[in-house]
Symmetry: C2
Subunit: 374 residues, 2 copies
């Protein structure tokens, strides 16, 4: 089996866990945040920079790579690791989320999903088997079952129908998957915000015995409290000795809430996307660097940060770069935001070790100002 | 004096020279190519990357920095070196070239030039004194006299009038310049393509005894042969013990022709600008990476290059990055192009040392294909 998970510790003050995830391209400490490299590059960064910031695993998107440059080409190049020069672990999603996000451009059938490319309108068909075929070609360490991510809100009837189909698709993915020794296949728990559906989904997928489980269909617009509630009853349904991956989560508050409820892995484009728009995460909350008040501010982005950006550049300089649309601006803020989240997860792991995660969360928020801003 | 030039060797087979340029922020080996960081950043690069590629001095643009973020702000930040985190030598131009490029938006008077900002249309006035004031505030190691760069073609009458004004402005710059111990002021020889005007300009400026001389008004659209002809008779008019800087030149062929005629310094946005459009310089000539024929080409950009880009990435990957408009694409081609030109200049210096520059030029062109393509 490609993927092995070692549970090192369970917290005493909450459901958080410490673990180690063994993959063919290296070991990952959990809980972990995974930077996103949608199109075979973490935007604005070299792989060495991502690694040097402390990232241990990255995520890449099957849908995007299937369309451009194509999975066959990446296979020919020697696989995704070699193609993009990232030699650590890679997780790919199944393409499901992107395909379902296409709205009118896609048609769901039992066999799979027909959709039109968002680039040129050409027609494509992705079935569970096709998704696995693509991910097998990419050669990522962790691959995902093809699933439907239901929107929020969603009727009970549709959520049930969709969840059951996702389970049937998971079976087909498992049967079709070829490289168990090189790639671990995760099942994805769905069921929208309905407890009995989540329970059914988890039960059926656990019966299929995947090496890891993702929780899908959250962080799709529902209130934070609702996400927390679903996590509260969903993570206990999953085996303790398998990693749990909450898809699409990457703000400090969501990361805290997820880890506290027993989540081991998370990913999100947020830190890199907002960075390119000039928004940075700091220990004192968010900061919009284009704001005129920073034009003569020669202090660093975050007074408590020692990343490359904060060590060498002032807010005034970074604001200037954004003001004149220089690429270095996006690079510097991306470095800072990734470093911020990676350090946050390091601190979270340390706090779990010391059984003081809830305490650390309060300390963090006291400065970050989350409670004030809500 | 801030600037000292040591002439180490004169070639036997041509007028090329080897030298050392001492500046307050370090020593520069000449002949040298200077990457351009127009708006206080060499586009897409960090200063450390520029330095690690072997760059010894960079150029920044007074006109752009004056408008955004403003020279006063940079002065307040501790000067341009500190603001942009480049701790090696910096040369700034006078702003003249950009102001005169504004065409209808500027009016030339004896006192200086009135112009409208290309950004917001606001009216500004740059005189020789103002240009020096700005450059004094920036704190660059080498600063330039405010001059008019005449277009090509240009009438004899206008070239004469303009050249004489440029000389009068040079006197005013010299008188106004405050920081002779920290910043070396260069005079700029003008006179378009007219031998007697170039002779007059050089004579008058040499009488003013600047620590270095630039040759302006070339590489502005004239045939290569004409540029070579002007260089042929202009460089001998300049003192041997002072550095000679040919402004705006940075293609391999122009660099060869300039160095062979006794030029010590040159700058150009070309390698970084074309890189961002996906054009790379290789030992076998130019290569347009967006071309479909590279889509499955897993070889490196330049088979003879050992830069970061060529060591780690294939043409197919870089083409993919350009195809999907990823920032890393521009970074990788910029790294390669700068490395290519910096290595070329290293090889040129080595060839001068060994008195085989003309031979090396032939070797280079045999592969680069310059003769074939003309």
């Amino acid at each position: 089996m490609a993927i092995k998970f070692e549970l090192l510790k369970e917290a005493k003050d909450c459901k958080a866990r410490l673990g180690k995830l063994y993959t063919p391209h290296g070991v990952v400490e959990t809980p972990i945040f995974m930077p996103v490299g949608t199109r075979a590059t973490v935007k604005a960064m070299t792989p060495e920079e991502v690694r040097d910031l402390g990232a241990q695993i990255i995520l890449s998107n099957t849908y995007h790579l299937y369309l451009r440059p194509g999975h066959e080409l990446i296979k020919e190049a020697g696989g995704l690791h070699k193609f993009m020069n990232w030699h650590g672990p890679i997780l790919t999603d199944s393409g499901g989320f992107q395909v379902f996000s296409l709205g009118n451009l896609r048609k769901i059938k039992e066999e799979g999903v027909e959709f039109k490319s968002h680039i040129d309108g050409s027609t494509h068909f992705i079935s569970p088997e096709k998704s696995i075929e693509i991910q097998n070609a990419l050669g990522s360490d962790i691959i995902m079952c093809f699933d439907e991510c239901t929107p929020y809100p969603c009727s009970y009837e549709y959520a049930k129908e969709s969840m059951e189909r996702t389970t049937r698709w998971a079976k087909r993915c498992k049967e079709y998957h070829k490289n168990w020794d090189k790639q671990g296949l995760f099942g994805i728990v769905q069921g929208s915000m309905f407890r009995d559906l989540r329970e059914q989904s988890a039960k059926d997928l656990v019966d299929l015995d995947f090496p890891g489980y993702a929780i899908g269909g959250l962080s799709v617009g529902e209130p934070t409290e609702l996400m927390c509630e679903v996590l509260d009853y969903t993570t206990p349904l999953l085996p303790k000795n398998k990693p749990r991956y909450l898809m699409g989560v990457g703000t400090p508050d969501y990361l805290f809430e997820a880890v506290i409820r027993g989540v081991d892995m998370a990913d999100c484009v947020l830190p890199t996307r907002v960075a390119r728009n000039g928004t940075v995460l700091t220990s004192h909350g968010k900061l919009v660097i284009r704001n005129a008040k920073y034009s003569k501010d020669f202090s660093k982005l975050d007074p408590e940060c020692d990343c490359y950006t904060c060590t060498n550049y002032s807010r005034a300089y970074i604001r200037h770069l954004f003001n004149v649309n220089e690429i270095l601006g996006a690079r510097l803020t991306t470095i800072h935001n990734l470093y911020f989240l990676i350090r946050l997860m390091e601190n979270i792991r340390k706090a779990i070790k010391e059984d003081r995660l809830l305490e650390y969360k309060d300390e963090f928020y006291k400065k970050y100002g989350y409670y004030d801003k809500k």
